[in-house]
Symmetry: C2
Subunit: 143 residues, 2 copies
């Protein structure tokens, strides 16, 4: 098992296709942005993937941004292949993101997850995340 931070130059058509397929396990309704687009500026994202025998079995990303209240990381799109769950892959990918967040001197890392995702919530709390007394609101655009 190899867990690494992906850079734009490492993206191949095969890797893109594998990640597109993997991501479908998280959502089949969302239009995915291509990797070369989201990795264009490495100051803005940390994208981690987990490979086993040359196959992508997990991805996790953290978008980086700066506002008055600090330099922050927003963790998004954490997916582990259904066939490889229960092996600690999610935890290992998260640990890479957290370490990178510390290295980049972020003030805070944020994430949100469905109230029903109890296994994920246990993992996040175990890693030190705390539930904020806040609600998440969103507004989607149709283009």
């Amino acid at each position: 098992m190899t867990i690494k931070i992906l850079t734009k130059s490492e993206v191949t058509a095969s890797l893109q296709q594998q990640i597109t397929s993997l991501y479908l396990q998280l959502s089949s309704t969302i239009d995915q942005l291509p990797l070369d687009h989201i990795l264009a500026n490495e100051d803005q994202i940390v994208f981690v993937c987990c490979m086993i025998d040359g196959q992508v079995v997990g991805v996790a990303s953290m978008a980086l941004y700066k506002v008055i209240s600090g330099a922050k990381g927003m963790i998004e799109d954490v997916v582990v292949a259904k066939t490889h769950r229960g092996k600690g892959i999610g935890r290992k990918m998260m640990e890479v993101l957290l370490k990178e967040g510390e290295h980049r001197q972020l003030n805070e890392i944020l994430l949100f997850t469905g109230h029903h995702r109890t296994a994920a919530i246990r993992l996040y709390q175990n890693l030190g995340f705390q539930l904020k007394k806040s609600g998440v609101y969103n507004l989607r655009f149709q283009h």
Copy 2:
């Protein structure tokens, strides 16, 4: 009343000082990042401020990022001076952010706000935001 999107070149020592003071009304415990730092790349943030008689009475920002699940805007640090609340300044600043988000072809705008902030929640819902069935988790670093 003037509401405008602030660019880095418009930041003066006086403006920085006014915004620092205003922001203290939202939080006195957070170390603020300076404006020239957060406005360094205009592809990454939309920073709106409201001026009355040359004084800053409100700010609101939206960090922009791209992940597999889309091009997103995260609204942060919305503050209206205590002396100028109830005049629709928050709504007007939010409308500028939403319009800019649409213009920049974001797929989604996100925000989170404390469950107790009922006036803010009413405003956000009125603007079309919907509560997600998710919890917000955070982890803060001490550097």
